[in-house]
Symmetry: C2
Subunit: 190 residues, 2 copies
DNA sequence: CGGTCTCTTGACGGAGTTCAAAGCTAGTGG
DNA sequence: CCACTAGCTTTGAACTCCGTCAAGAGACCG
């Protein structure tokens, strides 16, 4: 049984036939490490569901420094939803930071899927509502803790993830420089 | 024609009868200035739609300083979606910062509404997807610009809003102290 | 009016950045 | 399977943005 099926069934009930039909709208994509799925000034064609591996979304600031806004691991959805919804040019890059297996849903396919399977509106509503809730929690988080506390928290709660991604990506996600992250790491180990 | 009706009709089609039925699930609430709609450690009972006025969501840090995570003006939805969805205790306050007219939807009513009117799943999916997209844009924003640039941008693009809310709320939303905001404001005027 | 909120101003301090250089690590081709 | 290189991480010194504290000036309600 695949991951996406399980994820969908957490929120709504579908028959086997319905599930098979739903899955037919997706494209399975295998990526290499560091492969780019979206580049700046392209339209974000897909809404991605991660089966295995890890994606990140980032942009370049005016000095050419990459800044990570989001990671997505197994069972997470990721897309530039502004670009995806409006079919406008994106300001982001989406990159697989490990060899990954993902399922892609194009905008037209998503529309067709939702027309064909009304219940999937509820599924996607739940996915977005949950993401919206998570963004509120993160907003609190950012304002409540210093960068050092944020890193410490991350380090304590997701040690395997800290191992999994390069430091400089984590630093840019936490909004600090790699140099400062290195300093914090040294402080914690001691 | 009320604001919410118009907002719903931007995303889906409903007959007049359906619209009337949909609206019957909401409670209209009139607030005074500074009235609290949600307090820390309460369950966030309502999903709020702002007809007129302005709400903000904030929390208290451990020093007792209020930190604003979100504003909501006319035609915006606001709730602590984590607390609302799980019916768990909230860490936030929601406050009307002006006399406001809002429509409240309790969690049980939202569930009933969505069961009764399947099309509303699409509406709420769109609302949350749009909010999700906006949170991604804000994430970029926060990482891309210094606090000074963020304030300047805010000041240039939403001058009426800068007038409308007290400085200290705006400061806490931008993640700076009122003192520093005052300094920036002085810099800009000159 | 009077008192409490709100906004401003300035001196000082500290968290986090920048820049430069050296040390590591991992992927690549021979 | 080793050697080389490019990319990643660490270290340290100087600097800057922004917070803290304190004190005063407005502004808004009862």
């Amino acid at each position: 049984m695949m991951q996406l099926e399980q994820h969908i069934l957490k929120f709504i009930s579908l028959t086997d036939d319905e599930l098979q039909s739903v899955l037919s709208y997706f494209t399975r994509i295998e990526t290499k490490k560091k492969e780019l799925l979206l580049q700046e000034s392209q339209v974000c064609r897909y809404n991605y569901f991660v089966e295995s591996g890890c994606l990140r979304m980032y942009f370049m600031d005016d000095k050419g420094v990459e800044k990570t806004v989001q990671f997505a691991i197994e069972n997470w959805w990721l897309s530039d939803y502004f670009s995806f919804q409006k079919q406008s040019n994106s300001e982001f890059y989406i990159q697989a930071i490990e060899p990954s297996t993902i399922l892609g849903l194009t905008f037209p396919n998503q529309e067709k899927l939702l027309t064909e399977h009304q219940k999937m509106e509820r599924y996607f509503r739940m996915v977005h509502q949950t993401a919206h809730a998570a963004s509120q929690v993160r907003a609190k988080y950012n304002k409540d803790f210093s960068r050092e506390e944020q890193f410490r928290h991350f380090y304590d709660n997701f040690p395997e993830f800290v191992q999994r991604v390069p430091q400089y990506m984590l630093a840019s996600y936490l909004g600090i420089t790699p140099e400062y992250l290195s300093e914090l790491r040294a402080k914690i180990v001691s």
